[in-house]
């Protein structure tokens, strides 16, 4: 790599940087063998109580959990949540949410405004954001949000109330399982959300909703329920 003007003025070249690291390591590179997998760090095994564990951990992380028997009940449950929080405007992503069209219709019928996802500041103005959760992690009660052209990163962040729809079948036992499902291609942004936005910076007093949502509602759709 030629040493250009930029590298002289603004830093060093990759080649030089890596070489200095190699020199620092030295010739007698210590051999630190790692186990072939990370299974010894597993906390939750696959099996019967994975969904229950997810629910317990999500509640412990101060998320609001709603278990619904099937997709039919989903629309109704979200309608109730929106009524509870008195949302005037709702942002619904274009992600493959179960019964998305029906949901949008029901929200409109309830007299709430659907905010345009394409509008740049939509997440700043909406009272609630509804997104898909791509995965749930039973170990920590986390939900997984992924970037893509059918959503906005801010749809789960700038809104005061975040509603995430998760299918039971998408719950994996352990963080190791989550890591194993990732890989190439990686999404530009993948976020594990474990509770509402929180701070304890003022004398360790816990306050919710410091920058992000003060409530995260997880609507968990059961497997094999009525479609």
């Amino acid at each position: 790599m030629p040493i250009g003007w930029e590298s002289i003025v603004l830093g060093v070249s990759q080649e030089e940087f890596i070489r200095s690291i190699r020199e620092a390591i030295g010739n007698d590179r210590p051999l630190v063998e790692l186990p072939s997998d990370r299974e010894m760090a597993r906390v939750v095994k696959a099996g019967g109580d994975v969904v229950d564990r997810f629910c317990a951990m999500a509640v412990d992380a101060k998320m609001r959990l709603y278990r619904v028997a099937g997709e039919a009940a989903l629309v109704e449950t979200i309608g109730k949540v929106l009524a509870d929080i008195d949302a005037k405007s709702v942002l619904v992503t274009d992600e493959p949410l179960p019964r998305r069209d029906e949901l949008v219709r029901a929200i409109r019928d309830d007299g709430r405004q659907i905010v345009d996802l394409r509008e740049d500041d939509c997440a700043f103005t909406a009272d609630a954001g509804i997104t898909l959760a791509r995965m749930g992690i039973a170990e920590t009660g986390s939900i997984v949000i992924r970037s893509g052209s059918d959503t906005r990163r801010l749809a789960s962040l700038a809104v005061p109330e975040h509603i995430a729809v998760l299918r039971e079948g998408q719950i994996v036992p352990d963080l190791l399982d989550w890591a194993a499902t990732l890989g190439s291609p990686m999404p530009a942004n993948e976020v594990l959300i474990t509770g509402p936005s929180r701070t304890a910076d003022i004398e360790l007093n816990l306050v919710m909703g410091v920058h992000g949502p003060k409530n995260v509602h997880v609507v968990l759709v059961a497997q094999g329920g009525p479609a």
């Binding site: 070489r19 690291i21 990732l182 530009a188 959300i193 003022i202």
Partner: protein
């Protein structure tokens, strides 16, 4: 005002004396750190075999450090493949200049920042402000620090040293919030103020908790969500990363994540674990258009080459601070560096100069609580002893200390001198000065100890006598 903090005394002992004399400081720090310490202790057993997982984490870091040239190259290659740009900074100044240049080239005016220890190290905010940028710290604690021109005193909880009334007065003075001691209302005032900054910023700067080599992913964790804002909304994103922050695989990342939040705050996982892999993809409605990673050396290759390599395992969780009886007593500012607490006693001398910070490795009782708490098992007490010896070899030990140790060695080698010494100590020193088994005012040089804490009197009967009696009349 906290100018007292910003213009700290140059001498470590003076800073310690000032910290201890600050009303309420020790109590506030102790309360906060003990809560995090207890939280950590309560949640760690959930891992099943926490000690084995910590050993694995230490091994992952050691393996990575032993092959850092390879893993870092792989990381760089993957960031570039994902459409990101990588810059290399030997020094803090270079890192500041690179970041400022990125901003200038793109006409950036307002920058929002995520809390980052690497940026603290290089005083990035000041450098960027000097270049005419508006820099806004967006972590609530760092925001308070910034508007009060103070310095952080804890790696994870930067305003641990401030009380609610103090924060209320700062908010009243700087952002015009009506005085309130309600943390909820203060937090909401900061929310409203910072929300507009997030919305309108041109560039975001974050640190890097972990860089995943196999994917070129930058992972940051925040509880507040400011980390997601800064890395989602502005068109330009810069991640500043110490060169030791790499882990080989996503599975390794998962292992580290299992430990980080539990060790730091006693949470199962930080609220937002944010994985960023390149700029936004075609069609994405938000996310940065440019993704820059600035990888910084700033003395780290020196640590890598030396006898303290394992210090680079550190994942900046702050567990050793919370566990440390010295930190709990004096707080973070007295250490005089960016990194306080047990790990700071090593990192600060290693990064900023051993002779300039020669008091730090000595400010420890070597009780080992830090090692016990460290998720990656950095042998902090052992390294502190090693560093004391390094300092001695560099002639950085006071002549009186050298003399005292020499006499101690002579005394300890001779049974006669040892019993004579303990006898004399008991008769003269204890007899004349001790009250209820404690010394609270010893003559020089013992006053260095007793100025800040009591010293135990010697036992009325020394151990070797009790031992002898026991052997004779079991």
């Amino acid at each position: 005002m906290s100018d007292a903090h910003t213009t700290a005394a140059p001498d470590f002992h003076t800073r310690v004396a000032e910290a201890i004399a600050t009303p309420g400081l020790t109590a506030a720090i102790t309360r906060a750190t003990l809560r995090q310490y207890e939280g950590r202790k309560a949640i760690l057993p959930e891992l099943g075999r926490p000690l084995e997982i910590r050993e694995l984490a230490a091994k992952i870091k050691d393996h990575t450090l032993a092959n850092l040239d390879r893993y870092l190259s792989l990381f760089v290659e993957n960031v570039q493949r994902n459409g990101g740009q990588v810059h290399f900074a030997r020094t803090g100044e270079q890192a500041c200049r690179i970041i400022a240049q990125i901003g200038k080239d793109r006409g950036v005016r307002r920058i929002v920042k995520v809390k980052s220890m690497a940026s603290e190290e290089i005083h990035l905010d000041h450098a960027l402000e000097a270049d005419g940028f508006e820099v806004v710290e967006t972590d609530l604690g760092e925001f308070i620090i910034q508007i009060d021109h103070d310095r952080p005193s804890h790696i994870v909880a930067p305003v641990i040293h401030k009380t609610t009334p103090q924060i209320a007065r700062i908010f009243e003075r700087v952002i015009g919030t009506p005085y309130t001691e309600d943390p909820q209302m203060l937090t909401m005032a900061a929310r409203a103020y910072l929300r507009e900054k997030f919305r309108t910023a041109d560039m975001g700067i974050c640190g890097c908790n972990f860089g995943v080599a196999e994917t070129g992913t930058v992972c940051i964790v925040t509880n507040e969500g400011n980390g997601r804002y800064c890395t989602s909304r502005p068109k330009v994103l810069v991640a500043l990363m110490g060169l030791e922050k790499v882990v080989p695989t996503l599975a390794d990342l998962a292992v580290m994540l299992k430990l980080l939040a539990k060790s730091a705050t006693g949470q199962r996982l930080t609220t937002y674990t944010n994985l960023m892999t390149g700029p936004k993809r075609p069609g994405d409605l938000d996310g940065p258009e440019e993704f820059h990673v600035v990888i910084m050396d700033r003395g780290r290759t020196g640590i890598l080459a030396g006898e303290y390599r394992e210090v680079l395992r550190c994942i900046r969780c702050g567990a050793c601070l919370n566990a440390c009886p010295v930190y709990r007593t004096i707080g973070g500012h007295a250490y005089g560096g960016v990194y306080p607490g047990p790990i700071g006693k090593l990192i600060t001398p290693l990064l900023e100069g051993m002779c300039e910070h020669k008091d730090l490795p000595n400010a420890s009782s070597l009780c080992g609580a830090c090692l016990d708490a460290c998720p990656v098992q950095i042998p902090i007490p052992e390294f502190l002893i090693r560093m004391r010896d390094d300092l001695r070899q560099r002639g950085q030990m006071h002549w009186f200390q050298r003399l005292a140790f020499r006499m101690w060695r002579i005394g300890m080698k001779s049974k006669f001198l040892y019993s004579l010494g303990s006898r004399m100590g008991h008769i003269f020193l204890d007899g004349l000065l001790a009250r209820d088994g404690w010394h609270s005012k010893l003559p020089p040089p013992g006053n260095v100890w007793t100025d800040q804490r009591d010293f135990p009197a010697m036992a009325p009967r020394p151990f070797h006598r009790m031992w002898k009696d026991l052997q004779e009349n079991p």
